[in-house]
Subunit: 389 residues, 3 copies
């Protein structure tokens, strides 16, 4: 299995540009896959490394410079992602001042399909004793120190991109994230496996949230969120206003104030593997995100159907905890405690559907899971999921 | 009209270096004009793009990386600009921490002839609810996402540099500045036209201030500020101390505490086009800045005649509003309200004079405008122009 | 004496890479010295200039981009430095948010053998009126604007690396640091001479601290700190707990809370030249740091024998003052007052010993100095050295 190291700072290795395809390896060329790496130039994207992982049908732009996040993707001509007001991204972390705007500087770089939040903190800005934490934490704005690719030389010739990002400093967290993206040529699927390793000598707390963001064509008036739900809690009074229709989406609405719903989902078996889906109004297109509630027990749905110039988008956010103030989450014991050397694993699969049958099949899977439990939908923010009124 | 695109991030286009002159286009070479672009290297200027627009007599260094500001210029051997304590600029925005120093980090990069202040905010640091705004806002530290040049192929063969800078983020302002610099080969004039477009879906407020900064040879003991003035208000008690001689300048004085005067000017006709001038003591050199009070109704004169090692400089600052605390300016309704898609235009002309007759002619123009109105000079800070004592 | 300029921003000169050795100059090649400069690429080190000054026995990695600090060194196979949790350094200043983490962002880049603290401030984060100062000040995160090397063409063919770093802004300090590193081919010694020049027009205060950081093989269980001591004051109650064994070091201890001791040392003659030494348990290896108490009157010992994953390290920190809150240090008059144009010089020598005799000889030198004075060891934090309880 050929492995190519693109970045390895421990050995002072970094690759400016790189490209590979099946023909280069003497592998079957029928799927037309390719992996390429280049460094973007100019403006706020100057110096951002971008890896395009294209399996022939599904193309994903991975950003080693932005914590191995996913800028955007494409599946058979459909855009995966959203139209952020940030139009000149991907923005280099050196141009994102996390302490800026009173701790909201993270928003200056927010334009991704997948932005990870964490790892010391993943909620709103907060001051704790002498320390200040900015919105959604730091991991998305830390460049990877190690990046490599692999191409399996036996069918189905799986394509792999791996990276490592450290959130570490003296007197602080020392957490390593090892992430691995995998896809099979010609498939509609991307698998993600993240290992979070406590490299410190003392127990440490992990807060990880996967901020998946989608706009049209998956988000539109009448789109629906589909999942097997145990409970739904509105995070704020504003979210409570819309709790009766929490799983359907409206048209773009200038000035729409975001609504956030905190959920517990129902999964299969002890691992709790569960599908969540955003499907178009007509049910012809959908994005499915699968993960295990044993790894990511807290799910947040972010409805932000603002006008098209402001960011018409919804977020599907599986996580270790809810994006509440850090002190609140700690009080409810939702961070993952890791002993020295211990690892927490999170696995997710992104699947893109463009046939009504496939979408109906996921809906049937959800119905079967839901059959066991009637969802509890609270009509106001309440502990333990959300700070009370 | 040949147009060359140097940066266009939407199409992932960026040009490392570029140069063009009349001979390259088969145009008349008698004026010796040239336009060149390069990327500065090393220290705090690493990665700063610089465009030199040289019309043969007047040379202007434009900084796409610093919000299309003007680093400095030269006119027939005379320096346009000032000696900032920042001697290793132009400083890359990634080296300017706007949240640093308690919100005064902007000063770390301040060494320009023209620094724009705004667009969400252009005053002193302020905390407003959960948001913090640093000194003079962000626009000067946002790299342009689009830069191009044009050379008119018919007389007088005008030279044009254009750029676009977005101040935009989710949940925030989405304002685009389209700026255009124009000059005619061999002339003593630079024209600036900025369009500020609200790309958001809701009404937005614009705060734009043009911080033009000049030192010797235009600033010296006995230099004078010349303009047709309706009113002058000292911004602070310190400024009030010097209000009797607000329009004359002293020699460099170590430890001089800045004095700021807020003015309304008198312009021609309904547009209110008006000249402002800084002229040397003997009246042999001057810089004239023309603009329209209908576009930029608020003028601020910044007197900062500190020692030569600290920054002996004065600022001529036409603006949409005064550089007061944001809350104060909003209360007085001085920000420009822009509907979705609406544009505010600001046009300015910089003219360099080196003949007493030309200077006398501007003085006569000012006198004629002033003849209609006697200036009101307040002797203390007062509303509505300045927060009271 | 050949002098090569690597960076001179005033003349827009910067050198991407460079290497020189004795053979290049026709000098004796028996010591195998070399000086090389390159720019690191990738991750958080992207764009960091590194100069390796290798005298054949002693190798030192100087970081012009990080305020001319020393990343790490090597002496005959022994590492000079420590294992910071920051494993992907040296970190570019654009990736260090000094305003981040509530003023503790400096720690994100802290992995050096020598990190200078200062120059306006070198203590803990503090808000003073409208201004905020982050941990340990800014100088270590300001790139040099001037860098050059010299090789003496007469025996002993001394090798010199020089750099200039300005901490300067409008309305603020305007201090220039001119630093010079010198070493003789084949020697075990590095000399440092820093000149701090007040380029402003008014008196200014200088705060400079040399944060020398060492781990194994010099730091280990049973290592000792050796110096001629007039007084020792624990900085905090926590430090007071260990004051009885302030000069010996324990094994790595996960969760060990740092202990800081503030000292006055005894020097030779009126200049007060004095050796300080960290020696291994068996006395076979040591690092000696010599400086003059007339130049650097305040010495701080930082004991941070945390676990190996957190940063097992000790700091030897000669300074103009103690790393206490800025207001406290000013009240006790410990900053250096510099008139306009005035210079403060600090000279240090780093010497690496790997023979017991050499180490015993330094111990004898210390004993002789100490013979004149019995050290005062206070058992609690007390003024004037430390804020009281």
């Amino acid at each position: 299995m050929p492995q190519i190291t693109l970045t390895d700072l421990a050995h002072d290795l970094w690759t400016e540009s790189f490209a590979i395809s099946a023909a280069d390896l003497g592998l079957p060329t029928d799927q037309g896959w390719s992996i390429s790496k280049r460094t973007l130039r100019g403006g706020r994207r100057e110096g951002v490394d971008l890896i395009r992982l294209h399996n022939g049908q599904l193309s994903i732009d991975i950003l080693p410079t932005r914590g191995m996040g996913i800028w955007r993707g494409q599946f058979r001509g459909d855009r995966l992602g959203w139209s952020s007001p940030v139009v000149d991204g991907p923005v280099h972390p050196s141009q994102v001042n996390l302490a800026g705007l009173g701790g909201f500087g993270w928003l200056d770089g927010f334009d991704e399909l997948l932005a990870r939040c964490g790892l010391e903190h993943n909620g709103p800005p907060i001051q704790e004793g002498p320390f200040a934490h900015g919105l959604h934490g730091r991991i998305q704005n830390i460049p990877a120190h190690s990046v490599s690719i692999q191409i399996c030389d036996t069918p189905p010739y799986e394509l792999i991109v791996e990276g490592q990002v450290d959130e570490a400093r003296l007197f602080g967290l020392r957490m390593r994230m090892k992430t691995r993206y995998r896809t099979v040529p010609g498939s509609n699927r991307l698998s993600i496996r993240d290992e979070f390793v406590n490299l410190g000598d003392r127990p440490a707390r992990l807060a990880a949230l996967y901020h998946w963001n989608l706009g049209p064509p998956y988000l539109e008036q009448g789109s629906r969120f589909v999942a097997a739900i145990r409970s739904v809690v509105p995070q704020t009074p504003r979210a409570a206003e819309g709790v009766g229709r929490f799983d359907t989406f409206g048209a773009p609405e200038p000035g729409f104030a975001e609504q956030v719903y905190l959920m517990e989902l129902i999964g299969h078996g002890t691992e709790g593997s569960t599908p969540t889906m955003l499907r178009s109004a007509s049910g012809d297109k959908a994005v499915v995100l699968r993960f295990a509630t044993s790894q990511l027990p807290c799910f947040t749905l972010w409805k932000n159907t603002m006008g098209p110039g402001e960011g018409y988008v919804t977020g599907l956010e599986p996580a270790t905890n809810y994006p509440n103030p850090r002190t609140f989450e700690r009080r409810h014991g939702r961070f993952v405690e890791l002993a020295p050397g211990e690892t927490h694993v999170a696995e997710l699969t992104l699947e893109i559907l463009d046939h009504p049958q496939a979408i109906a099949s996921v809906e049937a899977e959800v119905e079967a899971l839901q059959a066991r439990v009637s969802p509890t939908v609270l009509d106001s923010p309440q502990e333990p999921h959300a700070p009370g009124p």
